[in-house]
């Protein structure tokens, strides 16, 4: 490996096909970062569509790889990092097969990366975060499919200290949004309405907030929101509109309350030096603000390490960064044996 290795990142685990080239030296240089978002298709269908997703991944990954490598071809990178789990095998294999072919033809190193480790690395892409980066760290990974508190003892050394027992936080946003008639994806819609509503208007539960564990439970919010919304559901006047805003604000606050409280308690217990907040739901402004405020007030010595907005949603720069962590530890995989790991835990 040269002094400033360039890692080719490939990500096809879920909605996005993404390809990136990351150069790691004294600073990080994101040489290429291509994401071919499939959100328009999903909006039309109201969710991720696996068969459509897999087929578009195939077409998109070929064109994105061609574009990323450019004239340099195989000389554009020194090693390959590809997401090998968790996710749907069919979608994962699209990226893995491309990566294997490139590894075979180029003779360069290849590592399989856990998508969640990629999310952790998304915070490391930010230069000011890297300056404050001192293990142990605590990471809150929050997305449509994940809600995990991860203790990071070192690069590549992690322990899940808490996670959801039912629905993920992003799922709670999406489904409560659906219950009050908002379109997909519900998270941003709830956030938008919430800014116009009163968060104390509807008394919603804060499940497991004080149970002493670092686990989460968000499925009960669906029942609470259904019951709260029932009297308003048939009305269409201005009062019902305001009730919808109030309910959105109450839902957002209920979810953020629990996320912040559990993160703070875990940060205290494990005596970490900083807190990462990563994954799709970390785009929620209220979550970012309230987490930052809680750290300032309660654990002021800790660094707040959110990922940049550009790297919150699925991207391949974060996969390349996590791949770099692995390669630096001496890890490499045999391209002949690399396969999808659909249920891979970090």
């Amino acid at each position: 490996m040269p002094a400033n290795p360039r890692i080719l990142g490939i990500e096809t685990s879920c909605d996005e096909t993404a390809i990136a080239i990351l150069e790691v030296g004294k600073t990080l240089k994101i040489v290429k970062n291509l994401v071919s978002s499939q959100i328009p298709i999903h909006q039309k269908y109201g969710g991720v569509v696996p068969e459509v997703a897999a087929r578009t991944h195939v077409a998109e990954s070929v064109s994105l790889i061609t574009e990323a490598l450019g004239k340099k071809g195989m000389d554009a990178f020194d090693a390959i990092a590809v997401t090998s789990g968790p996710g749907l095998a069919t979608a994962l294999r699209v990226g893995i097969e491309s990566a294997r072919v490139l590894a075979m033809l180029s003779g360069k190193k290849i590592v399989g990366v856990n998508h969640l480790e990629g999310h952790l690395a998304s915070a490391w892409l930010n230069a000011s975060n890297r300056k404050k980066w001192k293990f142990p760290l605590l990471a809150l990974i929050v997305s449509g499919g994940h809600t995990e508190l991860v203790l990071m003892k070192d690069f590549c050394k992690y322990k899940i200290v808490g996670q959801t027992r039912d629905d993920a936080a992003g799922e709670a946003f999406d489904k409560t949004a659906k219950l009050v008639g908002l379109p997909y994806p519900g998270g941003p819609q709830i956030a938008k309405l919430a800014s116009l509503g009163n968060p104390d208007a509807f008394p919603l539960p804060r499940p497991m907030m004080n149970d002493g564990s670092f686990d989460f439970s968000f499925s009960g919010l669906k029942t609470a929101v259904r019951i709260a919304w029932e009297p308003w559901s048939k009305m269409e006047d201005a009062r019902a509109e305001q009730a919808k805003r109030d309910l959105a604000a109450s839902v957002q606050t209920a979810i953020v309350d629990v996320l912040v409280e559990k993160t703070m308690r875990a940060a205290e217990k494990y005596k970490v030096n900083g807190v990462l907040v990563v994954g799709g739901v970390s785009a929620n402004a209220s979550l970012r603000e309230r987490m930052e405020k809680a750290i300032k007030e309660r654990l002021p010595k800790l660094a707040f390490l959110p990922s940049d907005r550009a790297y919150i949603t699925d991207n391949a720069a974060m996969i390349a960064a996590a791949g770099y962590w692995r390669i630096k530890k001496g890890e490499k995989h045999d391209w002949r044996k690399l396969d999808a790991r659909p249920e891979w835990n970090i």
Partner: protein
């Protein structure tokens, strides 16, 4: 068979009764609105089948398999078709492959999303969970 679920423990009673009716290859089609308790029921079913795992919502992962410790049933496959809009989209989930295993049962949330596929299956047990208006109580109907 009908059940009324008023307390959380009632899910276990319903799940035990359903577990007794399952045999390898059974597909449980779990209908009911958002938050009705489909996943909660599958968690109780996993317990009833002696699994050590506690299923989470598979809405995003789409399918998850759990080992069970039952005399005839060794695996519970938990599927959620909530995000599946078109029948062809279930092909990549490999549901048929799971069902080829001689000791597997499958529980499917939002089965209406894949009704054509289900119509082609044998051993389907249909179950409906309805929440009572304005309360926590659920009514379960098993055809």
């Amino acid at each position: 068979m009908n059940f009324i679920v008023a307390r959380m423990e009632d899910w276990d009673l319903a799940a035990k009764a359903v577990a007794d009716r399952l045999s390898p290859g059974s597909i449980l089609a779990l209908s009911g609105p958002l938050g009705a308790g489909k996943t909660t029921f599958v968690q109780a079913l996993a317990r009833a089948l002696g699994s050590k795992d506690k299923p989470r919502s598979p809405t995003f992962s789409l399918v998850r398999a759990y080992k069970t410790a039952h005399s005839a049933i060794k695996q519970l496959v938990h599927v959620d078709a909530y995000r599946i809009e078109s029948e062809q989209d279930i092909l990549p989930l490999g549901l048929e492959e799971y069902l080829e295993d001689p000791a597997t049962v499958m529980a499917i949330e939002w089965p209406e999303q894949i009704s054509a596929w289900l119509a082609g299956q044998t051993h389907v047990i249909r179950m409906q969970i309805e929440p009572d208006k304005g309360s926590d109580v659920r009514r379960i109907r098993i055809a």
